[in-house]
């Protein structure tokens, strides 16, 4: 059966009618092991197409060849939710003609669905696909588990190309994206490097400071009043966040509390919690490790969700709206609890919101977990370099040196104080850290806007300036 299979990516690009000035899109489930974005952009460049906008749910260091395409004017615009440090450094130098548009994992599908960021051709990396385009992330040598972020691209792009390295007989039964959305299928040798796609195992931190923060974090949840039957929870894949999940698991098992769902990017640790009976289900927009991939493939309690279902603010509802507690990170947080996850303290792009703002807006308790200082740079500042998530959506900051509660959540402050946790004012926490580190010199920024940070509702929330060349 030939179905929709075409001979090469180049052929698919031509058939899809891609022209100068159009927008192409990619999802990031293959993370730092993704070959597809580079393969497609190389084919596009060879065809002489220029002035494209790349809309990718996230960009990683493996995508550094984009820099050449930017230099050659093949790519003149980038829309993304996250950008890793090596790419970010170059973008911060101002190499791109138009500012990058940063969105959130919920804002991206929302804006795609509403036609604010139309996609001409979506390229969907698929670890398994059949000749008609039914595809899944759960099977094959490049298995990545959930394909959650690819759904809006598949549903709303004008043309959809599925790229796989594992073409199976029709019909692929356990599909994520059905053939009804797909125009062309291309089979290539490899869509990615399995080592970069998912980690083998995610380890909880051995860093003593991380462990102390995690213990504080688990206690904040324990005494928040939210930890009861039906509790729901999301945490990141960072060492301290995972350790917090471990301590939370101990508490839930001890108190015999079963939660309703664990959400998010799912790690093996969340799978352990599911299997131990801490949750009734996992709702998974992205898998971080092999254990999560195995679980989503075999355990019916572990369900894939789309980016819209996860976090879109403009759909009828999203899971984040039902979330009790989320644990999030920060490179900086200011005394108004605004959080920066886009740049480092020097103003250089090294991340992005991802689902940060979405979960913070939705969750009843949004917790930032961060050390008082990293490499002598204090985390709490007067004003963050970039507002990634507004302070109104953040409830509490947990550091090794104390816990600061946002004044808007007085009840939480009272509960934590009564529980004997080391609660202190965020200004006091800032001073405490600066007494240890000294006060850093304010960093001047360049005069060029290199990125616009767009809130999940679609408004301009902040801008990121270029970083001046080193003196």
């Amino acid at each position: 059966m030939k179905g929709k299979v075409v001979g090469s990516i180049r052929e698919a690009v031509a058939l899809a009618g891609l022209k100068d000035g159009m927008t192409v899109s990619f999802h990031h489930h293959l993370r730092n092991g993704d070959y597809v974005l580079n393969l497609v952009m190389e084919a596009v460049a060879q065809l002489g197409i220029r002035d494209l906008t790349v809309n990718a749910s996230s960009l990683f260091d493996i995508h550094l060849p984009l820099l050449d395409h930017i230099q050659n004017h093949v790519v003149t615009g980038i829309q993304t939710d996250y950008m890793s440090a090596a790419l970010g450094r170059e973008i911060s130098r101002g190499i791109l003609e138009r500012p990058v548009e940063f969105r959130t994992h919920g804002g991206r599908p929302s804006d795609i669905a509403q036609g604010r960021t139309p996609i001409d051709v979506a390229f969907i990396a698929a670890p398994a696909a059949d000749p008609m385009g039914n595809c899944s992330g759960k099977y094959g040598k490049s298995a990545c588990g959930s394909l959650g972020y690819a759904y809006p691209d598949a549903m709303y792009a004008k043309k959809v190309v599925v790229i796989t390295d594992n073409l199976v007989d029709y019909p692929l039964l356990d599909w994520s994206i059905p053939e009804s959305y797909v125009d062309y299928v291309v089979c290539v040798e490899e869509i990615g490097n399995p080592k970069g796609i998912v980690s083998g195992t995610t380890q909880i931190t051995r860093d003593p400071v991380g462990l102390v923060m995690a213990q504080h974090a688990a206690k904040v949840i324990e005494y928040s009043g939210l930890l009861k039957e039906g509790f729901s929870f999301q945490t990141g894949a960072g060492g301290a966040s995972l350790a917090a999940a471990k301590f939370l698991k101990d508490i839930m098992l001890r108190e015999q509390i079963q939660g309703s769902f664990g959400l998010g990017g799912i790690t093996g640790y969340m799978v352990d919690m599911l299997q131990a009976g801490c949750f009734r289900s996992l709702l998974d927009v992205q898998c971080f490790d092999l254990k999560a991939v195995e679980s989503i493939r075999t355990d019916p309690r572990h369900q894939e969700i789309s980016a819209m279902h996860y976090a879109s603010p403009s759909h009828r509802s999203a899971v984040v709206d039902s979330l009790d507690v989320v644990i999030l990170g920060a490179t900086e947080i200011d005394t108004d609890f605004n959080v920066n996850v886009h740049t480092d303290s020097g103003g250089c792009i090294m991340g992005g919101s991802g689902g940060h703002s979405d979960t913070a807006a939705g969750a009843k308790l949004s917790m930032i977990i961060a050390p008082m200082f990293r490499a002598r740079l204090p985390i709490v500042t007067d004003h963050v370099t970039c507002v990634s998530t507004p302070g109104k959506d953040i409830d509490v900051l947990v550091t090794q040196g104390g816990i600061a509660v946002n004044e808007k959540n007085r009840e939480l402050k009272e509960r934590l104080t009564a529980a004997g946790l080391p609660v202190l004012d965020i200004h006091a926490l800032k001073e405490k850290a600066e007494r240890i580190t000294g006060k850093p010199r304010q960093m001047p920024h360049g005069d060029r806007v290199v990125a616009n940070v767009i809130s999940r509702e679609g408004a301009l929330q902040d801008v990121i300036y270029s970083v001046p060349d080193e003196e």
């Binding site: 490499a375 002598r376 740079l377 000294g438 850093p440 010199r441 960093m443 080193e470």
Partner: protein, 90 residues
């Protein structure tokens, strides 16, 4: 005996530490600094290094400081250790 008579080093390149090398010099203090927080703390680190050298009575030395985000008290300790070792009386 205040002056540096031999090349010496102290500290490590681990996070939150600083690696200090000191050599005999003739033209005052020649200070070379690399730091992961140079933009935010470069001047503060230079001041600290010079202050410790002055407290210890070192007037001539070539000093190379490779900082991995060390706190002031760590920088002070490593510079002092390097000086003591550089005096050869340790």
């Amino acid at each position: 005996m205040a002056e540096i008579v031999q090349r010496a080093c102290a500290g490590t390149m681990e996070s939150s530490d600083v690696y200090v090398e000191i050599e005999p010099g003739r033209e005052g203090i020649q200070l070379h600094l690399e730091s992961v927080v140079r933009q935010q703390f470069g001047e503060a680190i230079r001041e600290t290094v010079r202050a410790v050298l002055a407290e210890l009575g070192v007037e001539n030395a070539n000093v190379s400081v490779r900082d991995r985000g060390a706190l002031d008290c760590v920088i002070r300790a490593r510079v002092e250790t390097a000086v003591r070792r550089g005096r050869g009386n340790n």
